[in-house]
Protein backbone atom coordinates (compact mmCIF):
# COMPACT_ATOMS: atom_id res chain seq x y z
CA UNK A 1 0.00 0.00 0.00
CA UNK A 2 2.74 2.40 0.96
CA UNK A 3 4.70 1.39 -2.05
CA UNK A 4 1.69 2.26 -4.16
CA UNK A 5 1.44 5.69 -2.59
CA UNK A 6 5.15 6.36 -2.84
CA UNK A 7 5.14 5.41 -6.49
CA UNK A 8 2.32 7.79 -7.25
CA UNK A 9 3.94 10.67 -5.39
CA UNK A 10 7.30 10.12 -7.02
CA UNK A 11 5.63 10.05 -10.37
CA UNK A 12 4.22 13.50 -9.78
CA UNK A 13 7.66 15.10 -9.94
CA UNK A 14 8.36 14.57 -13.66
CA UNK A 15 4.77 15.52 -14.37
CA UNK A 16 5.23 18.85 -12.66
CA UNK A 17 8.48 19.41 -14.49
CA UNK A 18 6.65 18.74 -17.72
CA UNK A 19 3.91 21.17 -16.70
CA UNK A 20 6.43 23.87 -15.91
CA UNK A 21 8.04 23.33 -19.28
CA UNK A 22 4.73 23.62 -21.12
CA UNK A 23 3.85 26.78 -19.21
CA UNK A 24 7.16 28.35 -19.98
CA UNK A 25 6.96 27.40 -23.63
CA UNK A 26 3.50 28.90 -23.96
CA UNK A 27 4.69 32.08 -22.36
CA UNK A 28 7.54 32.46 -24.78
CA UNK A 29 5.26 32.15 -27.76
CA UNK A 30 3.56 35.34 -26.75
CA UNK A 31 4.35 38.48 -28.73
CA UNK A 32 5.83 41.01 -26.36
CA UNK A 33 6.63 40.56 -22.70
CA UNK A 34 5.89 42.18 -19.37
CA UNK A 35 8.29 44.97 -20.07
CA UNK A 36 6.18 46.05 -23.01
CA UNK A 37 3.06 46.28 -20.91
CA UNK A 38 4.71 47.83 -17.92
CA UNK A 39 6.32 50.62 -19.82
CA UNK A 40 4.13 53.38 -21.20
CA UNK A 41 4.14 53.38 -24.99
CA UNK A 42 6.20 56.53 -25.26
CA UNK A 43 9.15 55.30 -23.23
CA UNK A 44 12.62 55.62 -24.66
CA UNK A 45 14.39 52.43 -25.59
CA UNK A 46 16.85 52.47 -22.70
CA UNK A 47 14.04 52.29 -20.21
CA UNK A 48 12.71 49.15 -21.84
CA UNK A 49 16.21 47.71 -21.93
CA UNK A 50 16.72 48.51 -18.28
CA UNK A 51 13.53 46.78 -17.25
CA UNK A 52 14.36 43.74 -19.32
CA UNK A 53 17.81 43.47 -17.81
CA UNK A 54 16.41 43.93 -14.34
CA UNK A 55 13.96 41.08 -14.68
CA UNK A 56 16.18 38.86 -16.73
CA UNK A 57 13.91 39.12 -19.73
CA UNK A 58 16.82 39.66 -22.07
CA UNK A 59 18.35 36.26 -21.38
CA UNK A 60 17.95 33.36 -23.78
CA UNK A 61 14.89 31.21 -23.12
CA UNK A 62 16.55 28.19 -21.61
CA UNK A 63 18.50 30.33 -19.17
CA UNK A 64 15.32 32.03 -18.05
CA UNK A 65 13.65 28.65 -17.64
CA UNK A 66 16.44 27.15 -15.60
CA UNK A 67 16.74 30.20 -13.40
CA UNK A 68 13.04 30.16 -12.79
CA UNK A 69 13.03 26.47 -12.03
CA UNK A 70 15.84 26.93 -9.58
CA UNK A 71 14.00 29.70 -7.80
CA UNK A 72 10.79 27.71 -7.61
CA UNK A 73 12.56 24.70 -6.23
CA UNK A 74 14.00 26.73 -3.41
CA UNK A 75 10.62 28.19 -2.55
CA UNK A 76 11.27 31.60 -4.03
CA UNK A 77 8.22 32.38 -6.07
CA UNK A 78 9.62 35.69 -7.22
CA UNK A 79 8.12 39.14 -7.38
CA UNK A 80 5.34 40.39 -9.59
CA UNK A 81 6.74 42.52 -12.36
CA UNK A 82 3.78 44.80 -12.06
CA UNK A 83 2.95 45.28 -8.43
CA UNK A 84 6.37 44.59 -6.98
CA UNK A 85 4.71 42.44 -4.34
CA UNK A 86 6.01 38.93 -3.65
CA UNK A 87 4.16 36.44 -5.83
CA UNK A 88 3.68 33.97 -3.01
CA UNK A 89 1.63 36.46 -1.00
CA UNK A 90 -0.60 37.37 -3.92
CA UNK A 91 -0.99 33.81 -5.09
CA UNK A 92 -1.84 32.19 -1.79
CA UNK A 93 -4.16 35.04 -0.90
CA UNK A 94 -5.95 34.55 -4.19
CA UNK A 95 -6.08 30.79 -3.74
CA UNK A 96 -7.60 31.22 -0.32
CA UNK A 97 -10.26 33.43 -1.87
CA UNK A 98 -11.01 30.86 -4.53
CA UNK A 99 -11.23 28.17 -1.89
CA UNK A 100 -13.83 30.26 -0.12
CA UNK A 101 -15.90 29.82 -3.25
CA UNK A 102 -14.84 26.35 -4.36
CA UNK A 103 -15.37 24.50 -1.09
CA UNK A 104 -18.98 25.57 -0.50
CA UNK A 105 -19.72 25.17 -4.20
CA UNK A 106 -18.27 21.66 -4.14
CA UNK A 107 -20.22 20.77 -1.01
CA UNK A 108 -23.43 22.15 -2.42
CA UNK A 109 -22.91 20.68 -5.86
CA UNK A 110 -21.88 17.25 -4.65
CA UNK A 111 -24.56 16.83 -2.03
CA UNK A 112 -27.31 18.05 -4.33
CA UNK A 113 -25.82 15.91 -7.08
CA UNK A 114 -25.75 12.75 -5.00
CA UNK A 115 -29.26 13.42 -3.75
CA UNK A 116 -30.69 14.09 -7.19
CA UNK A 117 -28.85 11.17 -8.72
CA UNK A 118 -29.93 8.72 -6.04
CA UNK A 119 -33.51 9.93 -6.19
CA UNK A 120 -33.56 9.71 -9.96
CA UNK A 121 -32.24 6.18 -9.82
CA UNK A 122 -34.73 5.22 -7.12
CA UNK A 123 -37.68 6.49 -9.13
CA UNK A 124 -36.14 5.33 -12.34
CA UNK A 125 -38.60 5.18 -15.22
CA UNK A 126 -41.14 7.53 -13.68
CA UNK A 127 -41.70 11.20 -14.33
CA UNK A 128 -39.74 12.02 -11.18
CA UNK A 129 -36.72 10.45 -12.76
CA UNK A 130 -37.21 12.60 -15.82
CA UNK A 131 -37.56 15.69 -13.66
CA UNK A 132 -34.40 15.10 -11.67
CA UNK A 133 -32.47 14.14 -14.76
CA UNK A 134 -33.67 17.33 -16.40
CA UNK A 135 -32.19 19.32 -13.52
CA UNK A 136 -28.92 17.52 -13.95
CA UNK A 137 -28.72 18.04 -17.68
CA UNK A 138 -29.63 21.68 -17.29
CA UNK A 139 -26.77 22.06 -14.88
CA UNK A 140 -24.21 20.92 -17.40
CA UNK A 141 -25.75 22.53 -20.46
CA UNK A 142 -26.19 26.05 -19.19
CA UNK A 143 -23.42 28.56 -19.61
CA UNK A 144 -23.01 29.11 -15.90
CA UNK A 145 -21.50 32.58 -16.17
CA UNK A 146 -24.67 33.67 -17.92
CA UNK A 147 -26.73 32.31 -15.06
CA UNK A 148 -24.51 34.29 -12.71
CA UNK A 149 -25.20 37.51 -14.58
CA UNK A 150 -28.93 36.88 -14.57
CA UNK A 151 -28.87 36.13 -10.84
CA UNK A 152 -27.03 39.39 -10.22
CA UNK A 153 -29.52 41.30 -12.32
CA UNK A 154 -32.44 39.81 -10.42
CA UNK A 155 -31.22 39.60 -6.85
CA UNK A 156 -28.79 42.46 -6.62
CA UNK A 157 -30.17 45.11 -8.85
CA UNK A 158 -33.89 44.57 -9.15
CA UNK A 159 -34.63 43.08 -5.77
CA UNK A 160 -31.62 44.58 -4.02
CA UNK A 161 -31.35 41.83 -1.42
CA UNK A 162 -27.90 40.48 -2.18
CA UNK A 163 -24.62 42.15 -3.13
CA UNK A 164 -23.90 42.16 -6.85
CA UNK A 165 -20.19 41.62 -6.70
CA UNK A 166 -17.14 41.36 -4.54
CA UNK A 167 -16.05 39.28 -1.64
CA UNK A 168 -17.22 41.43 1.22
CA UNK A 169 -15.33 41.67 4.47
CA UNK A 170 -11.90 40.11 4.87
CA UNK A 171 -11.07 37.03 6.80
CA UNK A 172 -12.50 33.63 7.29
CA UNK A 173 -16.18 33.51 6.35
CA UNK A 174 -18.03 33.51 9.62
CA UNK A 175 -20.63 36.24 9.53
CA UNK A 176 -23.86 36.87 7.73
CA UNK A 177 -22.14 39.60 5.74
CA UNK A 178 -19.69 37.04 4.41
CA UNK A 179 -22.50 34.69 3.59
CA UNK A 180 -24.44 37.30 1.64
CA UNK A 181 -21.51 37.75 -0.70
CA UNK A 182 -21.08 34.02 -1.11
CA UNK A 183 -24.62 33.01 -1.97
CA UNK A 184 -24.87 33.98 -5.64
CA UNK A 185 -21.37 32.97 -6.80
CA UNK A 186 -21.55 29.67 -4.94
CA UNK A 187 -24.88 28.79 -6.51
CA UNK A 188 -23.51 29.70 -9.94
CA UNK A 189 -20.35 27.69 -9.47
CA UNK A 190 -22.15 24.62 -8.10
CA UNK A 191 -24.32 24.10 -11.17
CA UNK A 192 -21.86 22.08 -13.20
CA UNK A 193 -20.61 19.77 -10.42
CA UNK A 194 -24.21 19.19 -9.41
CA UNK A 195 -25.18 18.16 -12.90
CA UNK A 196 -22.16 15.99 -13.54
CA UNK A 197 -22.23 14.20 -10.20
CA UNK A 198 -25.95 13.65 -10.39
CA UNK A 199 -25.74 11.98 -13.80
CA UNK A 200 -22.91 9.76 -12.73
CA UNK A 201 -24.54 8.72 -9.46
CA UNK A 202 -27.79 7.88 -11.21
CA UNK A 203 -26.08 5.78 -13.82
CA UNK A 204 -23.88 4.04 -11.29
CA UNK A 205 -26.71 3.25 -8.92
CA UNK A 206 -28.82 1.89 -11.75
CA UNK A 207 -26.01 -0.26 -13.01
CA UNK A 208 -25.12 -1.68 -9.67
CA UNK A 209 -28.71 -2.28 -8.77
CA UNK A 210 -29.08 -4.41 -11.83
CA UNK A 211 -26.07 -6.48 -10.96
CA UNK A 212 -26.58 -10.01 -9.90
CA UNK A 213 -25.16 -9.80 -6.44
CA UNK A 214 -27.72 -7.22 -5.43
CA UNK A 215 -30.58 -9.49 -6.43
CA UNK A 216 -28.78 -12.18 -4.55
CA UNK A 217 -28.67 -10.02 -1.47
CA UNK A 218 -32.34 -9.18 -1.83
CA UNK A 219 -33.10 -12.84 -2.23
CA UNK A 220 -31.22 -13.49 0.99
CA UNK A 221 -33.62 -11.15 2.72
CA UNK A 222 -31.50 -8.03 3.05
CA UNK A 223 -33.79 -5.07 2.82
CA UNK A 224 -33.69 -1.34 2.18
CA UNK A 225 -30.87 0.35 3.92
CA UNK A 226 -28.40 -2.48 4.00
CA UNK A 227 -28.75 -2.94 0.27
CA UNK A 228 -28.32 0.78 -0.18
CA UNK A 229 -25.10 0.60 1.77
CA UNK A 230 -23.77 -2.06 -0.55
CA UNK A 231 -24.78 -0.04 -3.56
CA UNK A 232 -23.11 3.06 -2.24
CA UNK A 233 -19.94 1.21 -1.41
CA UNK A 234 -19.73 0.00 -4.96
CA UNK A 235 -20.66 3.32 -6.47
CA UNK A 236 -18.25 5.23 -4.29
CA UNK A 237 -14.95 4.78 -6.14
CA UNK A 238 -16.00 6.28 -9.44
CA UNK A 239 -18.13 8.90 -7.70
CA UNK A 240 -15.15 9.92 -5.60
CA UNK A 241 -12.93 10.02 -8.65
CA UNK A 242 -15.40 12.31 -10.32
CA UNK A 243 -15.76 14.59 -7.33
CA UNK A 244 -12.05 14.95 -7.02
CA UNK A 245 -11.71 15.91 -10.64
CA UNK A 246 -14.63 18.30 -10.37
CA UNK A 247 -13.05 19.95 -7.35
CA UNK A 248 -9.84 20.39 -9.26
CA UNK A 249 -11.89 21.86 -12.07
CA UNK A 250 -13.58 24.26 -9.65
CA UNK A 251 -10.24 25.46 -8.39
CA UNK A 252 -8.68 25.86 -11.79
CA UNK A 253 -11.73 26.84 -13.79
CA UNK A 254 -13.38 29.42 -11.60
CA UNK A 255 -12.22 32.25 -13.81
CA UNK A 256 -15.53 32.90 -15.54
CA UNK A 257 -17.49 33.17 -12.31
CA UNK A 258 -14.75 35.28 -10.75
CA UNK A 259 -14.97 37.65 -13.71
CA UNK A 260 -18.71 38.07 -13.41
CA UNK A 261 -18.67 38.53 -9.64
CA UNK A 262 -15.40 40.45 -9.37
CA UNK A 263 -14.10 37.85 -6.95
CA UNK A 264 -10.36 38.29 -6.30
CA UNK A 265 -9.49 34.64 -6.65
CA UNK A 266 -6.79 32.68 -8.45
CA UNK A 267 -8.80 32.59 -11.68
CA UNK A 268 -8.90 36.35 -11.99
CA UNK A 269 -5.29 36.58 -10.86
CA UNK A 270 -4.34 34.33 -13.71
CA UNK A 271 -6.49 36.24 -16.16
CA UNK A 272 -4.79 39.46 -15.13
CA UNK A 273 -1.37 37.87 -15.35
CA UNK A 274 -2.05 36.62 -18.86
CA UNK A 275 -3.10 40.01 -20.11
CA UNK A 276 -0.24 41.78 -18.40
CA UNK A 277 2.26 39.10 -19.37
CA UNK A 278 3.33 39.09 -15.74
CA UNK A 279 5.39 35.96 -16.11
CA UNK A 280 6.36 35.38 -12.45
CA UNK A 281 2.74 35.52 -11.33
CA UNK A 282 1.42 33.53 -14.28
CA UNK A 283 3.92 30.71 -14.12
CA UNK A 284 3.63 30.37 -10.37
CA UNK A 285 -0.17 30.32 -10.51
CA UNK A 286 -0.39 27.72 -13.26
CA UNK A 287 2.24 25.59 -11.62
CA UNK A 288 0.59 25.68 -8.21
CA UNK A 289 -2.86 24.96 -9.64
CA UNK A 290 -1.49 22.06 -11.66
CA UNK A 291 0.33 20.76 -8.58
CA UNK A 292 -2.89 20.86 -6.60
CA UNK A 293 -4.64 19.04 -9.41
CA UNK A 294 -1.97 16.38 -9.46
CA UNK A 295 -2.19 16.04 -5.69
CA UNK A 296 -5.96 15.62 -5.88
CA UNK A 297 -5.49 12.92 -8.51
CA UNK A 298 -3.07 11.06 -6.26
CA UNK A 299 -5.46 11.37 -3.35
CA UNK A 300 -8.28 9.95 -5.42
CA UNK A 301 -6.17 7.05 -6.59
CA UNK A 302 -5.24 6.24 -3.02
CA UNK A 303 -8.82 6.53 -1.77
CA UNK A 304 -10.06 4.36 -4.59
CA UNK A 305 -7.45 1.77 -3.86
CA UNK A 306 -8.41 1.79 -0.21
CA UNK A 307 -12.10 1.34 -0.88
CA UNK A 308 -11.79 -1.16 -3.66
CA UNK A 309 -8.56 -3.15 -3.59
CA UNK A 310 -9.21 -4.40 -7.08
CA UNK A 311 -8.42 -0.98 -8.44
CA UNK A 312 -4.69 -0.92 -8.16
CA UNK A 313 -3.15 -0.18 -11.46
Amino acid sequence: MWFFIARRVLYAVPILLGVSFVVFLLMKMVPGDAADILIPPEAPREVAAMIRARFGLDQPIHIQYLRWLQAMASGDFGTSIFTNQPVADELFGALANTLKLALPAALLGFSLGVLLGALAAHYSGTWLDKLFSAFAITGVSLPHYWVGMVLVAIFAVVLNVLPGQGMGPEGFPSTWEHARHLILPVITLSLIPMGVVSRLVRANVLEIRSMEFISALAAKGLMGRRVLLHILKNAAPSALALMGLQFGYLLGGSILVETVFNWPGSGSLMNLAIFRRDIPVLSATILVLAAIFVAINILIDVLQALIDPRIRR
Binding site: S141, L200, I286
Partner: protein, 300 residues
Protein backbone atom coordinates in the same frame (compact mmCIF):
# COMPACT_ATOMS: atom_id res chain seq x y z
CA UNK B 1 -15.15 17.86 -18.32
CA UNK B 2 -12.99 15.09 -17.07
CA UNK B 3 -15.76 12.85 -15.83
CA UNK B 4 -15.39 10.41 -18.62
CA UNK B 5 -11.71 9.74 -18.33
CA UNK B 6 -12.06 8.03 -14.99
CA UNK B 7 -14.97 5.83 -15.87
CA UNK B 8 -15.18 5.56 -19.61
CA UNK B 9 -12.60 2.84 -19.72
CA UNK B 10 -14.70 0.20 -18.05
CA UNK B 11 -17.81 0.40 -20.19
CA UNK B 12 -15.76 0.49 -23.32
CA UNK B 13 -14.12 -2.75 -22.40
CA UNK B 14 -17.50 -4.21 -21.54
CA UNK B 15 -18.89 -3.05 -24.84
CA UNK B 16 -16.09 -4.88 -26.53
CA UNK B 17 -16.96 -8.09 -24.81
CA UNK B 18 -20.61 -7.70 -25.62
CA UNK B 19 -19.82 -6.80 -29.17
CA UNK B 20 -18.03 -10.04 -29.66
CA UNK B 21 -21.46 -11.55 -29.55
CA UNK B 22 -21.91 -10.49 -33.16
CA UNK B 23 -23.70 -8.34 -35.63
CA UNK B 24 -27.10 -8.50 -34.06
CA UNK B 25 -25.74 -6.02 -31.54
CA UNK B 26 -25.97 -3.12 -33.96
CA UNK B 27 -29.44 -3.98 -35.15
CA UNK B 28 -30.53 -4.23 -31.54
CA UNK B 29 -29.02 -0.81 -30.95
CA UNK B 30 -30.94 0.59 -33.86
CA UNK B 31 -34.20 -0.89 -32.63
CA UNK B 32 -33.76 0.53 -29.18
CA UNK B 33 -32.86 3.92 -30.54
CA UNK B 34 -35.89 4.11 -32.79
CA UNK B 35 -38.14 3.13 -29.92
CA UNK B 36 -36.79 5.84 -27.63
CA UNK B 37 -39.13 8.64 -28.54
CA UNK B 38 -37.52 11.36 -26.48
CA UNK B 39 -34.11 10.78 -27.98
CA UNK B 40 -35.57 10.67 -31.47
CA UNK B 41 -37.35 13.95 -30.85
CA UNK B 42 -34.18 15.56 -29.55
CA UNK B 43 -32.20 14.23 -32.50
CA UNK B 44 -34.77 15.74 -34.80
CA UNK B 45 -34.50 19.06 -32.99
CA UNK B 46 -30.75 19.00 -33.19
CA UNK B 47 -30.83 18.07 -36.83
CA UNK B 48 -33.19 20.92 -37.58
CA UNK B 49 -30.99 23.37 -35.68
CA UNK B 50 -27.99 22.22 -37.68
CA UNK B 51 -29.85 22.40 -40.98
CA UNK B 52 -31.28 25.84 -40.26
CA UNK B 53 -27.94 27.16 -39.18
CA UNK B 54 -26.18 25.73 -42.21
CA UNK B 55 -28.83 27.29 -44.41
CA UNK B 56 -28.05 30.69 -42.97
CA UNK B 57 -27.13 32.31 -46.29
CA UNK B 58 -30.54 31.33 -47.60
CA UNK B 59 -32.82 32.19 -44.73
CA UNK B 60 -31.07 35.08 -43.03
CA UNK B 61 -32.96 38.30 -43.59
CA UNK B 62 -30.03 40.69 -43.28
CA UNK B 63 -26.26 40.80 -43.43
CA UNK B 64 -25.14 39.77 -39.95
CA UNK B 65 -22.34 42.29 -39.90
CA UNK B 66 -24.27 45.34 -41.03
CA UNK B 67 -25.90 47.51 -38.44
CA UNK B 68 -27.56 50.85 -38.20
CA UNK B 69 -26.75 52.85 -35.16
CA UNK B 70 -30.25 54.24 -35.00
CA UNK B 71 -31.82 50.83 -34.77
CA UNK B 72 -30.01 49.59 -31.69
CA UNK B 73 -31.49 47.08 -29.28
CA UNK B 74 -34.89 47.15 -30.85
CA UNK B 75 -37.57 44.65 -29.87
CA UNK B 76 -38.66 41.78 -32.10
CA UNK B 77 -40.71 42.87 -35.06
CA UNK B 78 -39.06 46.23 -35.58
CA UNK B 79 -38.78 47.04 -39.29
CA UNK B 80 -38.46 43.51 -40.50
CA UNK B 81 -36.09 42.35 -37.77
CA UNK B 82 -37.82 39.18 -36.60
CA UNK B 83 -35.95 38.99 -33.34
CA UNK B 84 -34.93 42.59 -32.94
CA UNK B 85 -31.49 44.09 -33.18
CA UNK B 86 -28.27 43.96 -31.21
CA UNK B 87 -26.16 46.68 -29.65
CA UNK B 88 -24.84 47.95 -32.99
CA UNK B 89 -28.16 47.61 -34.78
CA UNK B 90 -27.47 44.32 -36.54
CA UNK B 91 -30.31 41.91 -37.13
CA UNK B 92 -30.43 39.40 -34.31
CA UNK B 93 -32.08 36.60 -36.30
CA UNK B 94 -29.30 36.67 -38.87
CA UNK B 95 -26.62 36.90 -36.20
CA UNK B 96 -28.07 33.92 -34.37
CA UNK B 97 -28.02 31.93 -37.59
CA UNK B 98 -24.50 32.84 -38.59
CA UNK B 99 -23.37 32.70 -35.01
CA UNK B 100 -24.71 29.21 -34.78
CA UNK B 101 -22.43 28.14 -37.60
CA UNK B 102 -19.37 29.33 -35.74
CA UNK B 103 -20.58 28.01 -32.42
CA UNK B 104 -21.33 24.60 -33.88
CA UNK B 105 -18.04 24.65 -35.70
CA UNK B 106 -16.27 25.35 -32.45
CA UNK B 107 -18.23 22.53 -30.92
CA UNK B 108 -17.71 19.87 -33.54
CA UNK B 109 -14.32 20.66 -35.08
CA UNK B 110 -12.20 20.41 -31.92
CA UNK B 111 -13.86 17.13 -30.98
CA UNK B 112 -13.41 15.77 -34.48
CA UNK B 113 -9.74 16.78 -34.64
CA UNK B 114 -9.15 15.49 -31.14
CA UNK B 115 -10.74 12.17 -32.08
CA UNK B 116 -8.48 11.93 -35.07
CA UNK B 117 -5.30 13.01 -33.38
CA UNK B 118 -6.03 11.55 -29.98
CA UNK B 119 -7.49 8.38 -31.37
CA UNK B 120 -4.47 7.71 -33.55
CA UNK B 121 -2.02 8.54 -30.79
CA UNK B 122 -3.82 6.25 -28.40
CA UNK B 123 -4.04 3.52 -30.98
CA UNK B 124 -0.35 3.78 -31.63
CA UNK B 125 0.48 3.77 -27.95
CA UNK B 126 -1.78 0.84 -27.23
CA UNK B 127 -0.72 -1.28 -30.16
CA UNK B 128 3.01 -0.79 -29.95
CA UNK B 129 3.45 -0.60 -26.23
CA UNK B 130 6.92 -0.18 -24.77
CA UNK B 131 8.77 3.09 -25.11
CA UNK B 132 6.40 4.64 -27.60
CA UNK B 133 3.57 3.96 -25.22
CA UNK B 134 5.41 5.53 -22.30
CA UNK B 135 6.40 8.58 -24.30
CA UNK B 136 2.90 9.28 -25.51
CA UNK B 137 1.09 8.50 -22.29
CA UNK B 138 3.45 10.47 -20.09
CA UNK B 139 3.11 13.53 -22.34
CA UNK B 140 -0.63 13.21 -22.02
CA UNK B 141 -0.26 13.06 -18.27
CA UNK B 142 1.46 16.41 -18.33
CA UNK B 143 -1.38 17.95 -20.29
CA UNK B 144 -3.77 16.21 -17.96
CA UNK B 145 -2.34 18.06 -15.02
CA UNK B 146 -3.98 21.22 -16.28
CA UNK B 147 -7.64 21.77 -15.49
CA UNK B 148 -9.12 21.91 -18.95
CA UNK B 149 -10.40 25.44 -19.07
CA UNK B 150 -7.08 26.66 -17.74
CA UNK B 151 -5.31 25.05 -20.66
CA UNK B 152 -7.71 26.52 -23.19
CA UNK B 153 -7.40 29.98 -21.67
CA UNK B 154 -3.64 29.73 -21.43
CA UNK B 155 -3.31 28.74 -25.08
CA UNK B 156 -5.72 31.37 -26.35
CA UNK B 157 -4.32 33.94 -23.98
CA UNK B 158 -0.84 33.33 -25.30
CA UNK B 159 -1.53 32.92 -28.98
CA UNK B 160 -4.31 35.44 -29.26
CA UNK B 161 -7.99 35.30 -30.08
CA UNK B 162 -9.54 34.10 -33.30
CA UNK B 163 -11.26 31.07 -34.78
CA UNK B 164 -8.14 29.07 -35.53
CA UNK B 165 -6.58 29.55 -32.12
CA UNK B 166 -9.85 28.72 -30.41
CA UNK B 167 -10.22 25.45 -32.29
CA UNK B 168 -6.57 24.67 -31.66
CA UNK B 169 -6.86 25.36 -27.94
CA UNK B 170 -9.98 23.26 -27.55
CA UNK B 171 -8.53 20.41 -29.59
CA UNK B 172 -5.46 20.31 -27.39
CA UNK B 173 -7.72 20.31 -24.34
CA UNK B 174 -9.70 17.30 -25.54
CA UNK B 175 -6.83 15.19 -26.82
CA UNK B 176 -5.59 13.77 -23.46
CA UNK B 177 -8.82 12.02 -22.38
CA UNK B 178 -9.34 10.60 -25.86
CA UNK B 179 -5.80 9.32 -26.00
CA UNK B 180 -6.29 7.63 -22.67
CA UNK B 181 -9.48 5.86 -23.67
CA UNK B 182 -8.13 4.92 -27.03
CA UNK B 183 -4.94 3.52 -25.58
CA UNK B 184 -6.65 1.46 -22.90
CA UNK B 185 -9.14 -0.03 -25.31
CA UNK B 186 -6.50 -0.81 -27.86
CA UNK B 187 -4.29 -2.46 -25.27
CA UNK B 188 -7.18 -4.57 -24.10
CA UNK B 189 -8.33 -5.59 -27.54
CA UNK B 190 -4.81 -6.43 -28.50
CA UNK B 191 -4.71 -8.94 -25.72
CA UNK B 192 -7.77 -10.78 -26.88
CA UNK B 193 -7.30 -14.13 -28.40
CA UNK B 194 -9.01 -13.42 -31.63
CA UNK B 195 -6.51 -10.72 -32.39
CA UNK B 196 -3.63 -13.10 -31.82
CA UNK B 197 -5.41 -15.63 -33.94
CA UNK B 198 -5.83 -13.09 -36.71
CA UNK B 199 -2.16 -12.22 -36.46
CA UNK B 200 -1.21 -15.88 -36.57
CA UNK B 201 -3.27 -16.35 -39.70
CA UNK B 202 -1.20 -13.64 -41.38
CA UNK B 203 -3.56 -10.67 -41.30
CA UNK B 204 -1.84 -7.30 -41.41
CA UNK B 205 -1.78 -5.18 -38.23
CA UNK B 206 -3.69 -2.35 -39.82
CA UNK B 207 -6.60 -4.49 -40.88
CA UNK B 208 -6.74 -6.13 -37.48
CA UNK B 209 -6.96 -2.75 -35.85
CA UNK B 210 -9.46 -1.50 -38.28
CA UNK B 211 -11.81 -4.39 -38.15
CA UNK B 212 -11.90 -5.37 -34.53
CA UNK B 213 -11.05 -2.30 -32.59
CA UNK B 214 -12.81 0.36 -34.57
CA UNK B 215 -15.95 -1.67 -34.99
CA UNK B 216 -16.29 -2.26 -31.32
CA UNK B 217 -15.10 1.00 -29.92
CA UNK B 218 -17.21 3.14 -32.16
CA UNK B 219 -20.29 3.05 -30.00
CA UNK B 220 -18.88 4.25 -26.71
CA UNK B 221 -16.66 6.76 -28.47
CA UNK B 222 -19.72 8.19 -30.16
CA UNK B 223 -21.43 8.57 -26.82
CA UNK B 224 -18.41 10.24 -25.33
CA UNK B 225 -17.88 12.48 -28.32
CA UNK B 226 -21.41 13.86 -28.34
CA UNK B 227 -21.13 14.85 -24.70
CA UNK B 228 -17.77 16.42 -25.46
CA UNK B 229 -19.37 18.50 -28.21
CA UNK B 230 -21.74 20.04 -25.74
CA UNK B 231 -18.82 20.92 -23.48
CA UNK B 232 -16.89 22.30 -26.40
CA UNK B 233 -19.71 24.65 -27.36
CA UNK B 234 -19.89 26.02 -23.83
CA UNK B 235 -16.12 26.34 -23.52
CA UNK B 236 -15.86 28.15 -26.86
CA UNK B 237 -18.61 30.53 -25.77
CA UNK B 238 -16.78 31.06 -22.50
CA UNK B 239 -13.56 31.89 -24.33
CA UNK B 240 -15.36 34.43 -26.50
CA UNK B 241 -16.95 35.80 -23.35
CA UNK B 242 -13.49 36.49 -21.98
CA UNK B 243 -12.42 38.09 -25.23
CA UNK B 244 -10.21 35.17 -26.17
CA UNK B 245 -12.33 33.33 -28.68
CA UNK B 246 -14.04 34.52 -31.81
CA UNK B 247 -13.40 38.11 -32.73
CA UNK B 248 -15.81 40.71 -34.01
CA UNK B 249 -17.48 41.43 -36.32
CA UNK B 250 -18.08 37.69 -36.64
CA UNK B 251 -21.11 36.41 -34.87
CA UNK B 252 -20.78 33.62 -32.33
CA UNK B 253 -23.21 32.90 -29.55
CA UNK B 254 -20.68 33.36 -26.75
CA UNK B 255 -19.41 36.62 -28.19
CA UNK B 256 -22.98 37.83 -28.62
CA UNK B 257 -23.64 36.91 -25.02
CA UNK B 258 -20.81 39.10 -23.94
CA UNK B 259 -21.80 42.01 -26.13
CA UNK B 260 -25.37 41.88 -25.03
CA UNK B 261 -24.62 41.91 -21.32
CA UNK B 262 -25.30 45.61 -21.09
CA UNK B 263 -28.48 45.12 -23.09
CA UNK B 264 -29.99 43.33 -20.15
CA UNK B 265 -30.98 46.72 -18.83
CA UNK B 266 -32.51 47.95 -22.04
CA UNK B 267 -34.02 44.96 -23.75
CA UNK B 268 -33.69 41.80 -21.65
CA UNK B 269 -35.38 39.55 -24.21
CA UNK B 270 -32.83 40.35 -26.82
CA UNK B 271 -30.06 39.76 -24.32
CA UNK B 272 -31.31 36.32 -23.37
CA UNK B 273 -31.41 34.78 -26.84
CA UNK B 274 -27.78 33.78 -27.42
CA UNK B 275 -27.65 32.25 -23.97
CA UNK B 276 -30.80 30.32 -24.71
CA UNK B 277 -29.33 29.03 -28.00
CA UNK B 278 -26.16 27.83 -26.29
CA UNK B 279 -28.25 26.14 -23.66
CA UNK B 280 -30.62 24.43 -26.08
CA UNK B 281 -27.93 23.18 -28.43
CA UNK B 282 -25.71 21.98 -25.63
CA UNK B 283 -28.65 20.28 -23.99
CA UNK B 284 -29.60 18.54 -27.22
CA UNK B 285 -26.12 17.09 -27.62
CA UNK B 286 -26.20 15.88 -24.05
CA UNK B 287 -29.60 14.27 -24.45
CA UNK B 288 -28.56 12.58 -27.68
CA UNK B 289 -25.48 11.34 -25.91
CA UNK B 290 -27.64 9.87 -23.19
CA UNK B 291 -29.98 8.30 -25.68
CA UNK B 292 -27.14 6.68 -27.58
CA UNK B 293 -25.76 5.48 -24.32
CA UNK B 294 -28.95 3.66 -23.34
CA UNK B 295 -29.47 2.32 -26.82
CA UNK B 296 -25.99 0.90 -26.96
CA UNK B 297 -26.46 -0.39 -23.50
CA UNK B 298 -23.26 1.28 -22.45
CA UNK B 299 -23.79 1.11 -18.79
CA UNK B 300 -22.62 4.43 -17.54
Amino acid sequence: MSLQDAIAVRPVAEALQRAQAGKSYWSRVRERLLADRITMAVMALLASIIVIVLAAPLIATHDPTVGSVFARLKSPGYQGHWLGTDEVGRDLWSRILYGGRLSLLCGVAPVAFALLAGGSLGLLAGYRGGIINSLIMRSMDVLYAFPSILLAIAICGMLGAGLVNTILALTVTFIPPIVRISETVTAQVRSFEFVEAAQASGAKPLSIIRFHILNNVLGPILVYATSLISISIILAAGLSFLGLGITPPDAEWGLMLNNLRQAIWVNPLVAALPGAMIFITSMCFNLVSDGLRSAMDVRI
